[in-house]
């Protein structure tokens, strides 16, 4: 790979990282806290690439690059050739192509179906549920699952509302969110099984829904062995995908 292509690649990769950092795209792949690092990295890569372009232009205009700069040195037999033209740099084109063509979505039902829900025991006693708004209490799926496991009394008699996507299991379905610790590579699901007439028929996989319901006894999905948290739903309506589709 020659200097021009290297400069272009640095500019393109920098622009990609910058675009991911500046838009909501980063929320598909990493934790929100990575945003400033992505923006700085994008700016840095663009700067390095732009510097290379400037030097190329200056070099061709007859301005002698300084020692240590690549433009001319390659051709000096006595120079310190640092220009081993890394061929592997071509691989950096792959994320560019994938982002430009398919722009992979957030993890969905396919990834969720392959994992089981694990929720760590809470560090402190769980706080009381918040007050209801519009007739139901908004909770995250993680919070609901955690209460089912570690503080079931707090859920008694409460009408709860949560948002997630549909992960089918047999004829039933889970309302689901993915949780990230670091990036989508460690995404793991929180899946709450839906129950009751209002949950049927199952919406298509990956549909975002808002469900309202009450706690009911944990049980395994039909045909499986391990009991999971269940919500007896009274209503299921379509919902927009949240800006950050992941929890925790």
């Amino acid at each position: 790979m020659n200097r021009e292509a290297q400069d272009s690649l640095l500019l393109l990769v920098g622009a990609m990282v910058l675009q991911i950092g500046l838009t909501d795209l980063h929320l598909r792949y990493v934790k929100p806290a990575m945003q400033p690092l992505l923006i700085l990295t994008g700016l840095g890569l663009v700067a390095v690439g732009a510097l290379g372009v400037v030097r190329q232009v200056r070099g061709s205009a007859g301005v002698q690059g300084f020692e240590g700069d690549g433009g001319e040195r390659e051709e000096q037999p006595g120079g310190h050739g640092q220009h081993r033209q890394p061929r592997t740099a071509w691989l950096l084109v792959l994320p560019l192509l994938i982002m430009a063509t398919v722009t992979p979505p957030t993890l969905g039902a396919y990834a969720a179906a392959r994992g089981t829900t694990t929720v760590e025991p809470p560090e402190f006693r769980l706080p009381p549920l918040p007050a209801p708004t519009n007739g139901a209490i908004d909770v995250t799926l993680t919070d609901y699952y955690s209460r089912v496991l570690y503080d079931p009394e707090s859920l008694q008699g409460a009408t709860l509302r949560m948002t997630g996507f549909v992960t089918p299991v047999g004829a039933e379905w889970f309302v689901t969110r993915m949780r990230l610790s670091c990036c989508a590579a460690d995404g793991r699901p929180v899946k709450v099984l839906t129950d009751g007439p209002a949950s049927r028929p199952a919406p298509p996989a990956d549909t975002w829904v808002e469900v309202v319901g009450t706690v009911t006894a944990a049980r395994p999905p039909a045909g499986e062995d391990d009991p999971v948290a269940v919500l007896a739903v009274s209503s299921v309506i379509g919902a927009p995908r949240p800006t950050n589709a992941y929890e925790g």
């Binding site: 790979m1 020659n2 200097r3 021009e4 690649l9 990769v13 990282v17 598909r28 792949y29 990493v30 990575m34 992505l38 700085l40 990295t41 290379g52 300084f66 020692e67 240590g68 690549g70 390659e74 051709e75 000096q76 310190h80 050739g81 640092q82 220009h83 081993r84 033209q85 890394p86 061929r87 592997t88 740099a89 691989l91 950096l92 084109v93 792959l94 994320p95 560019l96 192509l97 994938i98 430009a100 063509t101 398919v102 992979p104 979505p105 993890l107 969905g108 039902a109 990834a111 392959r114 089981t116 694990t118 760590e120 560090e123 610790s181 670091c182 990036c183 590579a185 460690d186 793991r188």
Partner: protein, 342 residues
């Protein structure tokens, strides 16, 4: 012995020399720029055609995991190449010979403990260790630093404390097992290591007044080189992530021996950053403390993206010896330390 020997492991300690004059540089140069733009253009034009096969959930999940591993690692890799560039351009080699004990066996623990100073994840420490090697730091010390830095730096230790609230013994165990593994590997290198396994480039000393250009040039070169290998590692990691279901690991959680091996393997496959791996370890509630510790000790030292980065930076001959040895020592020491502290 030429300097244009891209990515091939040569069992000779090579010092960079000017390569043969690229006679047809101009023609080849035009070609690679054109290829780059044609490939990118083709991708945009083919976009509608790709939506069919790329629409399958497995392929999309692969893409998400691949992009996320790459995007998560890039800032840390960039920080690493900046530090590596700074070492090359601004730090005279004499600094390291003065700071590190002359005795190589003593230099190893000192370099390992110096890992406390580099806040970052494992992908950043590879170029930094490469920069240290190129500056004449003894390989045993550079490798102790390479392994220790991503596991014992303050950010990682704080993250571990947050991930395991009320259980500071996890932080202590992680610190002891990680630094211990790094030092043992360094000592193993002193005893058995052979510099002929290594491929690296001795870097020029900056001439007076040209430090900044050398800094930029080194960082740029290292980024392009290591970035390619990072992508290769991310491809492997994403593929195994999607192909091997997580349930397979979980199915052996109750077996005390298999659980440790399963989480060590998961750490290798997952390739996540050391700054966040404690949260993943904490979430693996069905596994034993020993298995969780092994996950946190192995992850920053041996994973697929690291193996690719190391092979690219130090050569394949080195990496096929280094990675398995490190994995063995890390798993063994995690078991011992967990028996002692957890």
């Amino acid at each position: 012995m030429t300097s244009i020997d891209q990515g091939r492991a040569v069992p000779v300690l090579r010092v960079d020399e000017p390569g043969p004059l690229p006679v047809d540089r101009r023609r080849r140069g035009l070609a690679s720029t054109e290829v780059l733009f044609l490939v990118v253009l083709a991708a945009f034009l083919l976009r509608p055609l790709l939506s069919g096969p790329a629409g399958s959930p497995a392929v999309q999940t692969w893409g998400t995991v691949f992009v996320s591993i790459s995007v998560q690692a890039l800032p840390f890799l960039f920080l690493g190449v900046l530090i590596s560039g700074a070492i090359t351009a601004f730090v005279p080699p004499s600094v390291f010979t003065r700071l590190l004990p002359q005795n190589r066996a003593l230099a190893v623990p000192v370099a390992g403990a110096a890992g406390l100073l580099l806040p970052g994840c494992e992908c950043g420490s590879v170029p930094v260790a490469g920069g240290l090697l190129a500056r004449g730091v003894t390989p045993a010390a550079a490798f102790a630093f390479l392994l220790a830095a991503p596991a014992i730096n303050p950010i990682v230790l704080v993250a571990t404390a947050v991930a395991f609230p009320g259980q500071p013994e996890y932080v202590a165990a992680r610190f002891v097992a990680s630094l211990g593994t790094a030092v043992i590997i360094g000592w193993l290198w002193v005893r058995f290591g052979d510099e002929r396994w290594l491929r690296f480039t001795a870097r020029p000393v900056a001439p007076h007044g040209a430090r900044l250009p050398l800094f930029v040039e080194t960082a740029r070169h290292d980024f392009l080189h290591a970035g390619g290998f990072l992508v290769l590692g991310a491809v492997l990691a994403a593929t195994l992530n999607v192909v091997v279901p997580r349930g397979l690991y979980e199915s052996v959680a109750s077996d005390p021996v298999l659980a440790v091996l399963a989480l060590s393997l998961l750490a290798v496959v997952m390739s996540i950053c050391s700054e966040a791996d404690a949260f993943v370890a904490a979430s693996l509630t069905e596994f034993s403390p020993t298995a969780k510790l092994a996950f946190m000790v192995v992850g920053p030292m041996v994973d697929l993206k690291l193996i690719a980065l190391q092979a690219g930076t130090f050569g394949r001959t080195f990496t096929i010896r280094f990675a398995p040895t490190t994995l063995l020592v890390a798993v063994g020491l995690s078991t011992l330390v967990s028996w002692w502290l957890l």
